[in-house]
């Protein structure tokens, strides 16, 4: 393979030598491969795309040239996308081509490895949530929430078209939910928060039998650990609505079990384990009660036996899915995020239960420690909300929030501006060593 004449060669990934191509054409009795195309002239394309071929090295340089334009900032950012250290072994194992380049496991006899890994992933989520059924994955937290909303339509005994979501919710999540709500004509409404917690009284006030689902998050998008989830669960129970709880696997290692507060579905981004910062690339977690099993969207791996009576795994209950059930499927999802789930399971196993709990505890102590230090900075008050925080918290700033963000960027740091005078700051073990310098930078820009 030559680097020097890339533009004149064909695909570097088509192995045909000229002699082989000739032999194959001869076997087909045609002179030219173009003779095999059955495209009417009227719609044939005979132009070019104007895309120059590049060598592998040149392609890497080109990507580098573009990406270098990203500023090098230390990110104290969260709000749904988190950075935890992913060990190298997760990379090395997940990149093995037998995993990375494999297909969906429709031939389970040659896919036992991936099926078992997904089965293990499902099992880990079952342990983390206390609920009985986890699917293989959805795209991300937002689409998982959307799927939960449509699930509520399928499993609820009486119809209802209201979906209640917290006032503090990422715009992106809200917007995706709206799209999923569009087909089944659901209406998405926000219930108020009280100092970072769901205002349960107000929620109870809003709730009626037309409510199909209530969504709550712990920690909230503002990093606040929810303290009244059981009460939210009571409200949903009162109205036979689905209680959908948003969280993530690191938080779930420490926080009370969703099953114990009455959650019916747990969604969220599970890629906080296994991926780290990746511009919003995620892994939609979807776990629910066993009774909803046949209404679950997405893929499920189940245990079975093979012809030799040995335990084996297979995709199962596929009659829920689009390739069998077509327009009566529980979702249109097909390709999901299987490889990310593999990585998440690997990362969770690498940490082990104590490692996960320790990591979760660090998310609490580190957030609270940084909030305390920022609170000492002239011009800042943190945390704005009472209560416990996980990874992140909101900071009030005397200066306009956007100006602070810009000044910080100039100093090499990124934080969120959530309102005119509200910042949000997130920290994990990955930013541990940068916290001190960050507080100093804050002190410079906040006064």
């Amino acid at each position: 393979m030559s680097e020097s004449d890339v533009s004149t060669t064909g695909s570097p990934y088509a192995p045909h030598t000229p002699a082989e191509t000739a032999a194959m054409l001869e076997a087909l009795g045609v002179d030219d491969v173009e003779a095999l195309f059955d495209v009417p002239d009227a719609v044939a394309f005979d132009g070019d795309f104007g895309i120059d071929a590049r060598g592998e090295r040149e392609t890497r340089r080109e990507a580098a040239r573009l990406l270098r334009r990203n500023d090098d900032l230390t990110e104290f950012l969260g709000r749904g996308h988190y950075d935890h250290y992913v060990p190298s072994v997760v990379d090395d194992l997940s990149k093995r081509s037998e995993f990375l380049t494999s297909y969906t496991q429709y031939q389970p006899e040659i896919a036992q490895g991936f099926l078992q890994a997904l089965f293990e992933y499902q099992s880990m989520l079952v342990e983390l949530t206390g609920l009985g059924v986890a699917n293989c994955s959805m795209y991300d937290a937002a689409t998982a929430l959307g799927e939960a909303a449509t699930l509520s339509q399928r499993v609820r005994s009486v119809s209802g078209d209201r979906i209640l979501v917290p006032e503090h919710l990422r715009d992106g999540k809200h917007a995706v939910l709206e799209n999923y709500a569009d087909g089944p004509d659901l209406s998405v409404e926000s219930y108020p928060m009280d100092d970072g917690q769901a205002d349960v009284a107000a929620l109870a006030e809003m709730a009626d039998e037309d409510v199909a689902m209530v969504y709550a998050e712990t920690p909230s998008v503002r990093g606040v650990v929810a303290e009244n989830l059981a009460s939210v669960g009571d409200v949903t129970d009162d109205h036979d609505a689905l209680f959908c709880l948003g969280s993530d696997p690191v938080a779930l290692a420490l926080l009370e079990r969703p099953a114990d507060v009455g959650a019916d579905v747990v969604v969220g981004d599970a890629a906080s384990l296994g991926i780290g910062t990746a511009y919003g690339f995620g892994l939609g977690m979807f776990v629910t009660r066993e009774e909803y099993l046949r209404q679950v969207p997405g893929r499920l791996v189940g245990a079975s036996e093979d012809a030799n009576d040995r335990r084996a795994y297979t995709l199962t209950l596929q009659t829920r899915e689009q390739h069998i059930r077509k327009e009566r499927a529980t979702s249109n999802i097909c390709t999901n995020q299987a490889w990310v789930a593999l990585r998440t399971a690997m990362h969770a196993a690498w940490l082990g239960p104590q490692g996960l709990v320790d990591l979760a505890e660090e998310c609490v102590t580190r957030a609270e420690g940084l909030a305390t230090r920022l609170d000492e900075v002239v011009g800042l008050q943190a945390p704005v909300h009472d209560g416990h925080h996980f990874r992140e918290f909101v900071v009030r700033t005397d200066q306009p929030a956007r100006a602070v963000v810009e000044d910080l960027a100039a100093r090499g740091y990124a934080v969120h501006a959530v309102d005119e005078h509200l910042l949000q700051v997130c920290t994990t073990e990955v930013t541990a060593d940068e916290e001190a310098a960050f507080v100093e930078a804050m002190a410079e820009v906040a006064r």
């Binding site: 060669t9 095999l36 990507a63 037998e98 969906t104 031939q107 689009q322 990310v340 196993a349």
Partner: protein, 460 residues
């Protein structure tokens, strides 16, 4: 050959106590596997050995374009300067935006589309995006419509997507030649038709020769033409959906542009549209501005289909692949894909009822059971075709070798077909016998669902 579960090897329960949170906010304990790294490494290495990927051998899976995934694209997707948080201001991620803008442009050229969004995280998500765009377009024109027309040979996702978007599905029976029957189409469309969803070449590998007429019928009825990009690899540089009259399309980058399937994702399903529909693209979209780039919300945006910007690392790999191949490589890819399919079909003993086909063909295993024949192919060290679909072919073996298979590899595949063709039903029914697991009881799995190790434990 069977490997114990991680939980069977090394489960451990730890108490959650003395945590920085009050007890009533925390769980009591957590029980998970706790392997040390050497055990972890061996566990997953062993699991990988029980899995078949593109680098394991021939992979002629119909309609799924399992082509070779170039290693170097992984390196690009994992660059440290690409690992940015999605909430950073545009001005600080100009590299990311520049690359997205470039990729939007490339995909537009390849599909003959005027504008492209990269947000949909998979092909089905692309379909959903496309149909929501069609819906928004009709609504914008105060022209509410209730139906989506879909050929019976189409991918299951098309039907599910239409339903998810709230449409009724009108199924279009295939014509005798395996293609869209114009008369049937005329009968199917109406002023309720929001769109026709079509793939071309279709799942039989056949080019819809009447595509212009088809487009006219749909457009005349006020509907839009949606292109399912699953089979785009057949046509690169030969025909473009935009030129054929399609208004909306999705690209399956994990098919056409060699990003790895990952055992079922992550993929990405960018959506291209004509100029008329550009205002309906998801929020946000990238455009150039003053020598740089910015996000903006298209005027009539359908909103979002992913919480952030889609599957960014996958898009990086797509960029890398398209940039590496360029015109010459892309055009050669489809040439070799079509050559390979035709050559392979010529070598095998099974009948291929329809043609001329392009990058894939559907052979009939009849009177053998196609699924059994496929299981037997596993014993020959190759991945089998897609089976029993589309139903228009009896006992279908839907075969797509892609351009990545060498003549040698195709000959190996043909030998496997040949060997299986000669075998009796009993042998086929008891296949496979040389794989990590024997034939797996699917019925039992569904009858008694055991979907976690907890479920297995509670049995014993």
């Amino acid at each position: 050959r069977y490997e114990p579960l991680l939980s069977e090897k090394a489960n451990r329960e730890v108490a959650v106590e003395d945590s920085p949170l009050p007890d009533d906010l925390t769980r009591d304990s957590l029980e998970l596997p706790d392997p040390a790294e050497p055990e972890l490494a061996r566990h997953y290495t062993r699991l990988s050995q029980m899995n078949y990927g593109v680098e394991s051998g021939p992979f002629p899976l119909g309609s799924c374009t399992m082509k070779y995934n170039p290693s170097f694209t992984e390196d690009i997707s994992r660059r440290a300067d690409a690992a940015v948080h999605p909430d950073r201001p545009d001005s600080t991620v100009q590299g990311t935006l520049a690359l997205c803008h470039r990729l939007q442009d490339y995909l537009g050229r390849i599909g003959g589309m005027d504008a492209v969004t990269l947000q949909p995280p998979a092909g089905a998500a692309g379909e959903f995006t496309g149909i929501q765009i069609a819906k928004a377009y009709h609504q914008h024109n105060d022209d509410e419509r209730s139906e989506v027309v879909i050929p019976d040979s189409a991918h299951g996702t098309n039907f599910a997507t239409a339903a998810m978007a709230g449409y009724d599905v009108v199924e279009l029976p295939s014509g005798e030649d395996g293609r869209v029957d114009i008369e049937a189409l005329e009968a199917a469309v109406s002023e309720e038709t929001a769109a026709l969803m079509l793939t071309n070449p279709n799942t039989l590998g056949l080019f819809e020769r009447d595509i212009e007429a088809i487009a006219d019928v749909v457009h005349d009825a006020g509907g839009l033409l949606y292109y399912d990009g699953a089979n785009l690899n057949a046509l690169l540089g030969r025909a473009r959906p935009g030129d054929m009259g399609f208004d909306v399309m999705h690209y399956n980058v994990h098919k056409t542009f060699a990003t790895p399937h990952g055992g079922g994702g992550p993929g990405a399903g960018p959506v291209g549209v004509t100029e008329d529909l550009a205002g309906f693209l998801p929020d946000p979209h990238v455009r150039s501005k003053d020598g740089g780039f910015e996000y903006y919300t298209p005027d009539h945006s359908v909103g979002k289909v992913h919480g952030y910007y889609g599957n960014w690392p996958v898009l990086l790999k797509t960029f890398a692949y398209v940039t590496r191949l360029g015109d010459a490589g892309l055009i050669d890819a489809s040439a070799k894909a079509v050559l390979n399919a035709n050559y392979l079909a010529e070598q095998i003993p099974y009948e291929v009822p329809f043609g001329p086909f392009h990058h894939e063909f559907v052979a009939s295993a009849s009177p053998q059971d196609a699924a059994d024949a496929a299981k037997r192919m596993l014993d020959h060290g190759v991945h089998p075709p897609t089976t029993k679909w589309p139903e228009i072919v009896d006992e279908a073996l839907m075969t797509e070798p892609t351009e990545g298979e060498s003549k040698r590899s195709l000959d190996q595949l043909a030998a496997a077909f040949e060997a299986v063709h000669g075998e009796d039903d009993e042998t086929l029914a008891s296949a496979p016998e040389r794989t990590a697991a024997g034939r797996i009881d699917q019925v039992e799995a569904a009858r008694t669902p055991r979907l976690s190790w907890q479920a297995l434990d509670s049995e014993t």
